[in-house]
Amino acid sequence: MFIIHCPYCGEREQSEFKAGGEAHISRPKQPSELSDDQWAEYLFMRKNIKGVQYERWVHTHGCRKWFNIIRDTSNDQIQAVYKMGEKPPIK
């Protein structure tokens, strides 16, 4: 069980949070203009890599705020935490 540094509350146990999948996938502004394939790409296709991954998390049992983290899925090391709308601090 890892520890996440919530950008609003500070360090908390993982059990207070919920993962929300891959980060930086914006909902298309004009869904009706997308082809079925393009819509399916947005809707269904997510990466699940072994290694450094950009993820959405929410502090469910805390401030209820969503934010992003950069996590190495092979060892759970969290390399950065940043607020929604912010650019990833590291590439």
């Binding site: 069980m1 009706s32 819509w39 929410v58």
Partner: protein, 1001 residues
């Protein structure tokens, strides 16, 4: 006649306190401080168990948690009896009762022992190979396999003991209180760190504490007495917490560890009442120091498993710590200097040693010289080739090793004995380190895996890090701790250490024999009876990966997880396959390190505390009025209210009829309520619901359907516009939390520009729904000053008002199709308002109804229940709810998905009504629907989702999903049941009052 093998008073044993206990029904005596194992050995009992597969007689082999053989059944009664307890870990107490496992009728005479003679036909993978054919016979085989499998018996009645969980946070956690752990604890605590020291045994000091040999000295004192002073010192340090009888079970990432603290297992039963038995510690440590020590390796030779064969270090410990001789004629067999430590200590206590067999040729070692001085016969360059004695070793035969150690030469020498100590060197206990994600490296010169890279802020010290000798431990510890803790001084910089230990070792994983391998039983895994022969067979059959060999031979898969023999299995594989051990790697070390009880894992979360449940403010009233309850999420909801032993069916029929004929009352407090405020609230609702919200007037209510982005129905409910920028949304009972979560997600991540705030207010209100033709009359009595005329208060609107001085909000909305009013009051007034309604409704036969009647009533009207009639594969179009999907709105969640080729198909499963040919026949929910039995396989068109007998329509009604059902109105279909086929007709899902006249009746 049993012998007394107690040799010399040990300061760790209280000889003034005699303890009586029973083993296999017979009474024995030991002393306070004894383990079950040491007390049995003092009574000259070695045979304590039968092995798993061959039922071979087995004795106590170790003196610690690594014990593979001496696992016993503890306690006699059905609630506390516990299987697979290691005799080496149980502290004896008055009245202890233990017995052998895996034997029948007794450990002395075990029918299963026949397996030993069948062993040539019971090779590795025997079960896999034998019981495959014919497949239909499996059930018969299984009965016998199950009967012969498993060790011990589990309790059959509930556990009476108390368990609990506790969180601990500390700066430095030290696992293991041997010499390294004690020193580390002192340094950490003295430097101001909040320190926790955990030890699985009941004493501190590990293997060093009973060391009083002249060969191992620190600052001119024996290492034991030096350490004793250190321990006395650390016990006084305030910021150091010491937990004994506590075993770390798991070491997870981010320095999160689980440990089991044993609080009462050492006490006589009558002293345990009311006390917590075991505690699961959930430890979060900033830094972890692992000082788990090392385990002595056995040696692998023919018949190395007989009772009376122990690890050499265990014999030393039984003599030095417990004052018990394991035998009267002892032989030691070794490939390193450790056995000579044992020899020196036994000699000092007057225990005779017949001989020492050493794999090595001439070695220059002070320890060996002392043994020679003591006139112990040492066979250098020899190995044991066989042992004798069925229930207790009585003889060994030895032969000389060839120069390369691959075979034996010369003639056999027989030596009688009653106890054999074996020492194959030491294996660092890296279990916890690897559990945490640490990577190992292989050290070739002494063939051990040691920690290499650490995944978190932790360090391994002492012999678990591969420092086996006193001088190595002491010279490394200071430097390591300084670096790890970031301190300048440890106080241990200038220790004077003397040690006579010679580190040379002659490692031969499988010792040669004069017999061919196929004829030997050289045990690698003692508990699971895996032999060197089995491993070789696995390799011959093509297994290469260590993980596969492990599973095929079951090596390392017992309750001891192969703590003793796993290294030998690896070594043998490495030798045969020619791959290096470092490249082979180890099998995965999984938690727990030693078995945990279920009680510890569960803690207090048993019975009514298993899961929290939520009660509405009117709960007590429902209980008092004999309601049956059903679980909806975590809520307890009134299900139905049986009167005078009514069946559920009768109660529901009566309640349903009353609701339509006069009046019904329902506790709807569990529905989720979300308060929505902000200047963009209307726009927000437009985006999350399928229908349009901008034009909803203040004071009006509207039903909304919410989809997932994939177009599937997610939730529904009525939302009310309280003000220009203020709405209150209701959700399904079960969906309240996830809907709020989903809305927050969109608000925060996709539409942060919207000015909208969400708050869950589910628990703030009690909701009372009064429905039926008499509902208006009842409400007019409860709230006399409220104008209930249809003009002032029409269907789908709300009024803020007061009942006496209590503020309340009344909504005229209906889930039953009847005229109905929903009163929302502050939760704590819920019960009194409910009672007020009951009182006012008495003359109109107001009838409380539960969820079951609610479901029936709404089914008559064809209203869906999200989660019962839908299952996340239904679009609103599938539900024939096209009317609620706005075509004008540019976008809403899930809109685009309604135009995918798949969701637009005409032959999707669609919601329909189903009427049975026989109006009294009630369908079973979940039943399959078919049209045609002639085609094979029979095509399943769909299934029944809701089914009731309607007392108002006097016939059976059902809702279901049927492929292409929208266009099948009037068509006949069949519901196949186990013993009959039911004919049904596809109908409109709205069965009652299609014109909605009753809403304003």
């Amino acid at each position: 006649m049993t012998k007394n093998l107690r040799v010399k008073t040990s300061k760790f044993i209280d000889e003034t306190y005699k303890v009586s206990f029973k083993f296999n029904g017979k009474t024995y005596y030991g002393f306070k401080g004894d383990t079950l194992a040491s007390a049995l050995l003092a009574n000259d009992i070695h045979l304590v168990a039968r092995s798993f597969k061959y039922h071979r007689p087995r004795g106590i082999m170790t003196a610690g948690s690594e014990e593979p053989n001496a696992i016993v059944q503890l306690h006699k009664n059905t609630s506390r009896t516990e299987p697979n307890v290691r005799a080496t870990e149980i502290e004896i107490y008055d009245g202890l009762e233990a017995s052998s496992q895996n034997c029948w009728p007794s450990v002395n005479f075990d029918i299963g022992g026949i397996n030993n003679f069948l062993s040539p036909v019971l090779p590795a993978g025997f079960y896999y190979k034998t019981f495959m054919w014919p497949a239909s016979f499996w059930e018969k085989y299984e009965y016998f396999i199950r009967k012969s499998a498993g060790l011990g018996k589990s309790p059959s009645t509930p556990d009476p003991d108390i368990y609990e969980h506790r969180y601990i946070h500390c700066d430095v956690l030290i696992i293991g209180a041997g010499i390294s752990g004690v020193m580390a604890a002192k340094v950490a605590a003295k430097n101001g760190f909040k320190t926790l020291l955990i030890e699985e045994k009941n004493y501190l000091g590990g293997e060093t504490i009973y060391q009083d040999s002249e060969h191992f000295k620190i600052n001119n004192q024996t290492s034991g007495s030096w350490l004793d002073k250190e321990i006395n010192e650390i016990k006084k340090i305030k910021n150091l917490e010491i937990k004994t009888r506590t075993s770390v079970a798991a070491f997870h990432g981010y320095n999160f560890l689980l440990a089991r603290e044993n609080l009462t297992d050492h006490l006589p039963i009558e002293q345990r009442n009311g006390k917590t038995r075991q505690r699961l510690l959930k430890i979060r440590a900033k830094k972890v120091i692992t000082a788990t020590g090392s385990l002595e390796r056995p040696l692998i030779f023919d018949n190395n498993d007989r009772p009376g064969i122990l690890l050499s270090s265990a014999i030393n410990k039984y003599a030095s710590l417990f004052g018990v001789a394991c035998g009267e004629k002892n032989i030691l067999f070794t490939n390193n200097d450790s056995a000579y430590e044992t020899a020196a200590n036994l000699f000092k206590k007057g225990i005779s040693i017949e001989a020492i067999i050493d794999n090595r040729e001439e070695i220059d070692s002070k320890l060996i010289k002392e043994s020679e001085k003591n006139n112990i016969k040492i066979y250098k360059g020899y190995t044991i080739v066989d042992t004798y004695g069925y229930k207790r070793i009585n003889k060994i035969s030895i032969m000389q090793l060839s120069k390369d150690g691959q075979k034996v030469v010369g003639s056999k020498i027989l030596i009688p004995c009653d106890c054999l100590g074996i020492s194959g060197g030491w294996t660092p206990s890296v279990h916890l380190f690897t559990q945490s994600g640490g990577k190992l490296k292989f050290r070739d010169n002494d063939q051990v895996f040691i920690p290499n890279t650490y995944p978190s802020d932790q360090i391994s010290i002492g012999s678990c890090n591969g420092d086996f000798t006193l001088d190595e431990i002491l010279s490394n510890i200071s430097k390591t701790l300084k670096e790890f803790l970031g301190i300048n001084k440890t106080g241990y910089e200038n220790l004077e250490v003397q040690t006579s230990f010679n580190k040379s070792k002659r490692n031969i994983w499988l010792l040669p024999s004069d017999k061919i391998v196929g004829k030997t039983k050289s045990f690698v895994d003692f508990q699971n009876d895996a032999t060197a022969k089995d491993i070789k067979l696995a390799l011959r059959e093509g297994f290469r990966s260590i993980e596969h060999v492990k599973r095929y031979t079951t090596t390392g898969m017992g309750t001891d997880q192969g703590k003793l023999g796993n290294m030998h299995a690896l070594g043998i594989i490495s030798e045969i396959s020619g791959s290096k051990m470092g490249e082979l790697g180890t099998t995965t070390f999984r938690p727990p390190y030693t078995p945990l009880t279920f009680g510890t894992i569960v803690g207090r979360n048993v019975g009514e505390y298993f899961d929290v449940y939520r009660k509405t403010p009117m709960h007590d009233w429902h209980v008092k009025n004999k309601a049956k309850f059903e679980n909806v999420g975590q809520w307890k909801r009134a299900w139905y209210y049986p009167k005078n032993n009514e069946s559920m069916h009768d109660a529901v029929q009566r309640e349903s009829k009353a609701a339509r004929d006069s009046a019904g009352i329902l506790d709807a407090s569990t529905l989720g309520k979300i308060d929505i405020q902000g200047t963009d609230a209307s726009e927000f609702l437009n985006r999350v619901y399928t229908n349009a919200w901008s034009k909803l007037d203040i004071g009006k209510c509207r039903y909304g359907l919410m989809l997932n982005e994939d177009g599937m129905v997610y939730d529904d409910g009525v939302t009310t516009r309280l003000n220009e920028n203020h709405y209150i949304m209701t959700t399904t009972t079960g969906g309240a939390a996830t809907v709020l979560g989903k809305l927050e997600d969109y608000l925060q991540t996709e539409w942060p520009e919207l000015d909208v705030y969400l708050t869950s207010v589910t628990d703030h209100y009690a909701t009372i729904s009064v429905c039926g033709p008499k509902s208006k009359k009842i409400i007019s009595q409860v709230i006399p000053n409220l104008d209930l005329s249809d003009d002032n208060f029409p269907h789908m609107s709300f009024k803020d008002t007061k009942i006496n001085e209590i503020k309340c909000r009344v909504m005229r909305i209906s889930f039953t199709g009847e005229q109905s009013y929903e009163i929302n009051v502050q939760a704590n007034y819920g019960k009194s308002v409910w009672e007020k309604c009951m009182k006012a409704g008495k003359e109109f036969n107001i009838t409380p109804y539960g969820t079951e009647t609610m479901h029936l009533l709404r089914a008559e009207k064809g209203f869906i229940i999200v989660g019962q009639d839908t299952d996340a594969t239904m679009t609103p179009i599938d539900l024939q709810m096209n009317w609620i999907v706005s075509k004008k709105k540019y976008d809403f969640i899930g809109k685009r998905s309604l135009y995918r080729s798949d969701t637009m198909r005409d032959d999707r499963k669609q919601l329909v009504g189903l009427l049975t040919e026989n109006p009294d026949e009630i369908l079973e929910e979940g039943a399959q629907i078919v049209a045609n039995f002639n085609k094979s396989p029979v095509e399943m068109l769909g299934h029944v989702t809701s089914s009731y007998y309607s007392p108002n329509l006097k016939k059976s009604i059902a809702l279901g999903f049927v492929r292409g059902g929208k266009n099948m109105m009037g068509q006949k279909l069949i519901i196949p049941m186990e013993n009959k086929k039911i004919n049904v007709t596809v109908a409109d899902p709205v069965f009652l009052d299609k014109e909605n006249k009753r809403l304003n009746a």
